[in-house]
């Protein structure tokens, strides 16, 4: 019913600070990106990572969507740092939403974040 705060403290914090929002600047290593968009669901997310020695050393996100989408994108970007492409990133919608306390009706939007991570994982996978 009415009265409850739809945003958990962690969502508010990530939304307000938006750490890692934006694009990577010039630098060493390989830069890879992954993007997903579902305008009818109200989400458009893009990740960029810099990979050095098989490990993500820097991650950035851009997101258009509700606060939960922005917060989940920021959280995912944080977790992407230290990730070794080729391994599973472990950043699916269910994980992100549980950590952030996202209401059920927003799950569809978090799938867009997951899709962008998946696209990134495909783009960043080491060529074998």
């Amino acid at each position: 019913m009415t009265g409850a705060d739809p945003y958990s403290p962690r969502v508010r914090e990530l939304f307000a600070a938006a750490p890692r929002a934006g694009s990577l600047g010039p630098g060493s290593g390989r830069v890879r990106w992954g993007e997903a968009m579902a305008l009818e669901r109200g989400a458009w997310v893009r990740f960029e990572v810099r990979v050095e020695a098989g490990v993500v050393v820097e991650a950035r996100f851009r997101a258009w969507g509700c606060p939960h989408v922005l917060a989940a994108s920021a959280l995912a970007a944080e977790r992407l740092e230290g990730w070794a492409p080729g391994a599973a990133p472990g950043l699916d919608a269910a994980t992100l939403s549980a950590e952030l306390g996202v209401p059920a009706e927003k799950l569809g939007r978090l799938l867009v974040v997951e899709d962008a991570v998946t696209a990134l994982a495909a783009a960043a996978a080491p060529a074998d």
């Binding site: 945003y7 109200g42 922005l70």
Partner: protein, 394 residues
Amino acid sequence: MENAPVYLDHAASTPVRPRVAEAMCECLGPLGAQANPSSAHAEGRRAGAVVLRAREAVARLVGATPSSILFTSGATESDNLAVLGAARAGRDRGRHVVTSRTEHRAVLDACRQLEREGFEVTWLHPDAGGRIPPELVAGALREDTVLVTIMHANNETGVVNDVAGIAAACRGLGVTLHVDAAQTAGRIPLDVVDLGADLVAFTAHKLGGPKGVGALYVRDRPRPALQPIAFGGGQERGLRPGTLATHQLLGFGLACDIAAAELEQEAERVAGLRERLWEALRPVGHAWRNGGDGPRVPGILNAGFAGVEGESLLLALAGDVLASSGSACSSASAEPSYVLRALGLSDLACQASLRLSLGWSTTAAEVDRAAAAIRRAVARLRSIAPARATERVA
């Protein structure tokens, strides 16, 4: 209050006017009108007299006779009584109803209920400006049409329909016309006789009165057939039972009196503030107004900002501006506004839109403060969004 957020959500609910609050408090106090206004004793009659004066005040604001004003718990109930009541009362004459896609949910959902009861509903699409042209209504009328229900002004875009034109289209055809005037009463001149409607819904909390009280105008002559949605007690000519809430009606009536006294001057002032707000927002670029040109209520600015998502904009603004991305009752849902979609806006454009609604408490200083905050928030969210999001607006 310098640092309190600017309240730009008058379309969802207006703050209660201080004089109204004061009078209601007195009525609730030990010397107030505490008895049941249906009681025959002196205190009951005193409460009854308060009710009577409130009825006269509401009637005066909208050019009606007091006996044509029924009190309800709000526009939602008024809409339901009108839509369900008129259609059910007419079901032996026909089972066709005409409405639009941009009605308030009280009307939409009442019409959906009629569909479940065997009525056929024609759902009209607004033109690009968000209006329902009278010709469109005329074209939808059939031999078996018993009810047309079209709102006066839309609660998201503020656009005003040509109700008199729609009434003309219905005239002489035995069709009952209901008009939801929740957003116009007390905000623009409104005369039920000029509107030509048979039924008109009002609510107090959009015009400086309390929440939880409203009215339904029911034309006197000819009186449209109406089946009650609730029964018992005999109050309100047997059409709306329940103990009348004296203090609420007192507040409603007084708010109507105040609104009536200030109507034209306030309409001009608020419309001026709305334009001032829009002019201050335009420099942010890639911004547009929803609802096109043509008549609209003074207090609503529905604007879109490419590259921005409404809910995030609201949260980014939270400490500075209180507004809505759609109607209050759907603001908790994740759905894009059905009203803006019906106007033909793309998903992106719908979700990039914000309803800023001004009213009696709004000042120029607040407008300036709000505009600055909105510009900052839009710029920040755009800096976070994918670069092409700002360009991609249909």
